[in-house]
């Protein structure tokens, strides 16, 4: 089973996001960057399926600057076999990234192309299905668990109030969310081994995203409200406020 897992370098969830003076970009200063949490699920899924099959190869791929090598190494330390960096300036998104990934995948043989459900910086939830479209492959998004038997893939995807069971054949594209694949920690041995694993670098063939960022702004500050009271005796007053002031009950 040959899997390619696409991974992105993103600010840690703890990070305070500060807008730069140009009001168009985010200031990376002082921000810790990590492997996108949803991509960890995707890497874990690929490793689990490689282990279950007893053979195969997991390649991790990232589009970004040299700084993205760090997250590729994290994935290698978890157990991926090789990595590819598609070098690109700035932080391309959406169709721009999908085009670069699709053109790289056209030249490769693979069974599974795995993605995170979304990147927690652009919150787009789009690159996986876009790559599937560009490569004319079947796909399922927001997958919590999947099985592979021969060339048949059965995936469970989260929908409102339940699950959809989707069937398709290899090769296919899946975007993974939290579910059956709790990411493993990299062992010390894994971290050492990662340094010797192959890491290929080439220039990304970016497309255009079709989107122009005009400006960034913080959401309106939430004013700290008021403590209505203590204990259950405060309940009637809370309800009065919700009805008369907020008018939401």
């Amino acid at each position: 089973m040959r899997a390619v897992v696409c991974v992105k370098r993103v600010p840690d969830t703890e990070a305070r996001i500060r807008i730069s003076e140009d009001a168009k970009t985010v200031d990376p200063g002082g921000v810790k960057f990590v492997l996108n949490p949803y991509d960890e699920f995707a890497v874990e899924a690929a490793l689990k399926h490689r282990e279950a099959a007893g053979e195969g190869e997991v390649t991790v791929l990232s589009v970004g600057t040299e700084e993205s090598i760090e997250v590729l190494r994290t994935a290698l330390a978890m157990g991926a076999d090789g990595a590819v960096l598609l070098r690109a300036d700035g932080s391309p998104e959406g169709l721009a990234v999908a085009s670069a990934i699709a053109s790289e995948l056209r030249g490769r043989e693979f069974d599974l192309a795995l993605f995170g459900m979304k990147a927690i910086d652009d919150d787009l939830q789009a690159v996986g299905p876009m790559v599937a479209e560009l490569l004319e492959l079947p796909s399922a998004t927001v997958v919590t668990e999947f099985s592979v038997e021969g060339d048949k893939v059965t995936a469970q995807r989260e929908i409102e109030g339940g699950m959809e069971v989707v069937e398709m054949t290899l090769p296919c594209v899946l975007t993974i969310t939290k579910g059956a694949y709790e990411p493993r920690y990299a062992s010390l041995k894994g971290i050492m081994a990662a340094k010797k694993k192959p890491l290929e670098e080439k220039d990304a063939e970016l497309g255009s995203s079709g989107i122009r960022s005009e400006s960034l702004a913080y959401p309106p500050e939430r004013k700290a409200g008021r403590i209505v009271g203590e204990g259950p005796d405060a309940v009637p007053e809370l309800l009065r406020l919700l009805r008369e002031e907020a008018k939401v009950v």
């Binding site: 969830t13 807008i19 796909s139 409102e160 005009e214 008021r226 209505v228 204990g231 405060a234």
Partner: protein
Amino acid sequence: MPGVFAFIESRDGEIRGVSHEVVTAARTVADGLGEEVHAVLPGAAGVGAEAAQLGKYGADKIFVAESEALARYSTDGYTAVITDFIREHGCRVAIFPSSAMGRDLAPRVAARLGGGYAAECTALEVEDGQLVVTRPRYAGKVFARESFESEPMVVSVRANVFTPREVEGGGAVEPLTSSLDAADFGSIVREIRAAAGEKLDVSEASVVVSGGRGLREPENFKLLEELADALGAAVGASRAVVDAGWRPHAEQVGQTGKTVSPQLYFAIGISGAIQHLAGMRTARYIVAINKDPEAPIFKVADYGIVGDLFEVVPRLTEEIRKLRG
């Protein structure tokens, strides 16, 4: 006249509530562009029976694509119907809900047609004949204004933001024929497993009652379910309790869960970590119930009660039941 395309989502033959929000959003854009709203509803035979209701929210024309191949959702079938329609009618804007279906389809549609895509928009404006959207980034830690460099301009809109608005006039329903065969689809939905009682989804509910580690044991979520029941709300959860296996991930609110914008959000026994706040800070009103007066959740809550949730919540449920008779 080209129309603003509005995707109408249905499940089990019924038009879902988010579709009214999508039509309302499309109406705003269409008015700005001086165009019509063209709603498209794919589904099984009979799905069009209730389609005329969409006219109330501003759909000028409602195209119903009834076919065996579209009876169940499929990425391939729905993408084909939609992209064919957009191409044929020359739609410049296509609007989807931020639902599981909408977010599966919209990126595919944008990629097939070479358009730009903006997800989970919270505002759509037309300036000098151009669409400008506002959308969250970093789970809502910042909001971006974005415009388009290519068409069609594809957007998904966040649930609970575009409150359905009734307008004058009503749309005409027209059939849309399609020659699709499910045998040609690369992926098919074999089965739909509904969660118990087909619960309301946190991302779409207008009232959400969320619980955290303060509930101490999974069984105690019964208290929140009762409160949610009394309020007609959905139950949500912090990651701490999802990780502990007390609640399903589908209920997790936050940066690695769902982002929600309900009218009213209850955070009960939740401390208010930055990742949780990211997912719910755009709620219209936030109520916090926590025994620790220093809990960070009180910094964003409109109303707070300091106290033991095991005493406060049952009382709250009781009072709401009384109120609702």
